[in-house]
């Protein structure tokens, strides 16, 4: 944490109070969005630092329960991102995944989680600028909602 604070100070961003800080989990596929995020980092595109990335082989590997578990464990927002439909490294993983995420997206508000706290999107390896935009917009929305205080989820 101290190291992260140092990095933020070095980057010129003010560390917020720990209590105000939101925790955002990003689950990204190895082939597109992770590479896109890597590209955004290499290009030094400034991004909200609340995002913690989790790399998986393919969006097809992501069980909707991963997102639910993240919320259960105290995440304030979950972003899932993979290859654009049609560009999956394994041809069709994200087509299966898309159905699952859509159901999850529709179920979460029913479970008392505001719909702005979950999003699924597609970012390719070459779209560093798009990754920056996706992260900043998503984290901005989660920040506007603030930390969650769910009893059920």
């Amino acid at each position: 944490m101290a190291q992260a604070t140092d990095m933020r100070q070095a980057a010129g961003t003010t560390p917020p109070d720990a209590e105000d800080e939101v925790k955002v989990v990003g689950i990204v596929c190895n082939w597109c969005s992770y590479a896109g995020a890597d590209g955004a980092g290499t290009a030094r595109l400034k991004q909200e630092f609340e995002m913690r990335l989790l790399r998986v082989p393919c969006t097809g590997r992501i069980d909707p329960l991963f997102a639910i578990k993240a919320f259960e464990k105290g995440a304030d927002g979950v972003l899932i991102s993979g290859c654009h439909p049609g560009d999956c490294h394994y041809s069709e993983g994200n087509y299966y995944a898309r159905r699952k995420f859509e159901l999850l997206d529709r179920m979460l508000p029913f479970l008392g989680v505001e719909s702005d706290r979950f999003e699924y999107t597609w970012v390719s390896a070459s779209e560093a600028a798009r990754w920056q935009k996706v992260v900043n917009e998503f984290v901005g929305k989660v920040k506007a909602l603030g930390p969650r205080e769910g009893r059920a989820l």
Binding site: L65, E102, L103, F110, G112, T121, R151, A152
Partner: protein, 322 residues
Amino acid sequence: MSDRQAKIRELAGAALAEDRVDYFIGWKQGINSSEAIPAFVRNADEVDQLVWNPLSHHNLTAFLKRKMPDPPNARIGVCVKGCDSRTLVALLQEDLVDKERIYVVGVPCDGIIDRRRVEKEFADEVVSISFSGDTVTATTRCGDSKDFAKGDITFDHCNTCRYPNPFYADDMAADPVPEPEDRTPMWGTIEEFEALSPAEKDAKLADAFETCIRCFACIHACPVCVCWDQCVNRSRRPALVGQRVDTKENLMFQMVHMFHVAGRCPSCGACDRACPVEIPLYLLHRKMNKELYDMLGFEPGVSLDEKPAFQTFKLDDPFGEH
């Protein structure tokens, strides 16, 4: 009502006498006439214990999902109502039940009554329930008696049922009952819950799930939840669901069930009826089905040729950008 019961006995008796099945699963009277319980009949001369009445709520296809029938490769006869047959179709779609080894007797259904709702009308134990036409008479141990109109005490999912006749059956116990012309799904009471604010929903869910004892009754009674000891709910590695007794873990437990039967679950209500602490599980499962229908126009278990929603995809699924 009794015609169907007689026909079930006749069909079961014939199947057992001709050695087409090793055993036949139907319903029989429980400890008294106030409840029906599942029955396994192994001899043709024992079929007289089989009953059919509006208490026959158990979804007997739950017994077919066993990977190890007794004996292995047993040929099993089973009774199904309309909703039960949808779960059977869902199992057949995925080859989870061997079509060659089952004999299915379809029972057209007029709605099943919620015994719990009857029980709550009395301070004493209900020991007898009898039916005449649309009147249901319940009597307690002390002799208190009360008449109910059947429509007032049927399950919510029976009131909104659009498929009272079995989809898949080798023989039918009666002619099909009239079906509603409009097959557009109705979602019953979940709309009240949908209208609440996120904080209110959270509070309601927390109150409901706080009491879960994780007895696995919902999962074992579920005809389409099929992983048995591979269930991630039982697993400590991965530790998706912990052993800690708290509301969040309890909801997580139920989320595993819900997401893992998505595309297969037709909201038959078996989990709801099995729950000993009366958690409104229908809320989750019906909402899931509502959204699936909204997303893909998909209804689970209505066609043998269809693939379950999550085992297939379309290039032009109408969501997610293209």
